[in-house]
Point group: C2
Chain length 310, copies 2
């Protein structure tokens, strides 16, 4: 259904994530399909018309932002939707009440997606009659640009809902990854925050500055992992014995780093120094410029993957 | 001196790292300068002539591999060198003896660099009379491609030696970062291994597979951190309040991930599963292909940095 015509997608919440998803959907929406946005703010229509165009960076689009329908009630927004995607506040009671309401008004086979970065689908579904269609679809910000989508079902989510969700995103050339267990922070953030934790320790201990640490990552792991993730990289680095060879060769150094890890926590007192360095060196980051360059890299990578060389 | 003419660079050790550095030096060596390689293997000359060309991937080079002098004794290799760079075995007694020998024969102001990934300069220097010229210059493999060089002096290394080393690499458009304290594993590996540790935990706990985890990183942090390191990225993500705003917004999720971290160790029993998955999904990695694509990304990034937009 999701790849066919007359697809009806409804977005709930027109914040930064919601509008970025709107731009992404518009870029891939067939002419016969429909995008609806619902937001509880009083000036929703004007706000969306004013801000949605900011999320487009390519010149030609199949659909214009005027094709978006702005719903004025939740009932109108979801009553004939095939996909309902919420990007609302990160607040458990709000999400629980939302899905209970959505369930009353939406078609029985509509897919229900949450953009949450932290509230598990199993928690969000607790006031629902039928939790089988609800799963987390967690983007890497901004979703109109970054390919990753973490699909995190609850134990109650059906295999069909997961498969339909994967098919939808694959058809749009995104990278939907099924996370097989509900886990605090999902996977991408857990990995990134593990590195960030050590980064904070190294700045706090005056080993390097915030700016030096960023330049290290930009000149090493960043480009490397854009091409080959950490396991593939270390498997390649281990010679004929692969990842096992890598650990045979420098496992002592790896364990040495692990045993010596900083393991800072929030409130330990590193905050003032680290925040001040970031403010001083970066001020206000030019996000449009960052995204423009990121898109150039992603275009290279997508082209290479299209050639099946990656 | 290092940026002038008649520069004499001597490499000790013609393994993978040594030859990759040789390719890098040849790419930037003025016509009047000299590159010498010394290796203790009996067939050193033939081995180097056969293998060095494999490290070149650009069509035109200012110097050919036949310009390399293969020294037949340590004395001959270092007696008139301006820079002596060792990429020998990761073995403390070998390095200590090497530097004691080098010191006897090399000019008094020659820079002494070690490519080690784990043996501190202060340890390597323990049999030297004058440790002020020795520092670690740790590459991110392969050095002929990846821009990062971690400069890790010992407490005895002179400021002059550090500055000369930085100047040398900056003149060659590399990214030399001064690590201000000798630290287990230096900085890049500590950061990468912190992420790898959590990655191993997530695969061991069946949250994702090796292949899924790599795709997550390749589609999110990899390209993002190639453009903007972790601090800059989260500073941008925190809105007007920067990194502090980021922690105000989702600090609870960050701490939740930290508190829930896997913290695996070598020998915990994850090895068989993780190594087997890597073998099964990747077999033998096509490193030349990986490096070709990485170079495309680095060319984009270098061009953007040249425009001073990064």
């Amino acid at each position: 259904m999701e790849s066919g015509k007359d697809l009806r997608i409804t977005l709930i919440g027109a914040g930064t994530i919601g509008l970025s998803f709107a731009a992404l959907h518009l870029s891939h929406l067939p002419a016969s399909s429909h995008l609806t946005i619902y937001d509880t703010r009083p000036d929703a229509e004007q706000y969306i018309r004013d801000n949605l165009p900011k999320f487009f960076s390519k010149a030609s689009l199949p659909r214009s932002t005027s094709d978006v329908k702005i719903a004025t009630s939740l009932h109108d927004a979801v009553s004939d939707a095939d996909i309902i995607q919420e990007s609302g506040p990160e607040n458990l009671p709000i999400k629980q009440d939302l899905w209970a309401q959505v369930e009353k008004h939406a078609p029985k086979d509509a897919l229900l997606w949450s953009s949450t970065s932290g509230i598990l689908a199993s928690q969000q579904a607790q006031k629902m009659q039928d939790p089988t269609r609800l799963l987390v679809v967690h983007p890497y910000n901004p979703p109109h640009l970054m390919p990753l989508l973490e699909l995190v079902p609850s134990p109650s989510t059906s295999e069909t809902a997961i498969r339909r969700t994967q098919d939808f995103w694959r058809a749009r050339h995104r990278v939907p990854i099924h996370i097989h267990q509900e886990t605090t922070g999902f996977v991408a953030n857990r990995l990134a925050f593990a590195l960030l934790r050590e980064a904070i320790h190294l700045v706090d201990a005056n080993v390097v500055s915030v700016a030096e640490l960023d330049r290290i990552v930009e000149s090493s792991m960043g480009p490397r992992w854009a091409v080959a993730g950490p396991f593939k990289s270390y498997h390649a680095g281990g010679g004929p014995a692969g990842l096992e060879g890598f650990f045979n060769n420098i496992g002592d150094t790896v364990q040495g780093c692990w045993s010596d890890a900083g393991n800072v926590n929030i409130g330990d007192g590193w905050e003032d120094k680290v925040f001040a360095q970031a403010r001083e060196v970066y001020g206000t980051v030019d996000i449009a410029e960052r995204d423009r360059i990121t898109r150039r890299l992603l275009d290279v990578l997508e082209g290479e993957r299209g050639k099946k060389t990656l």
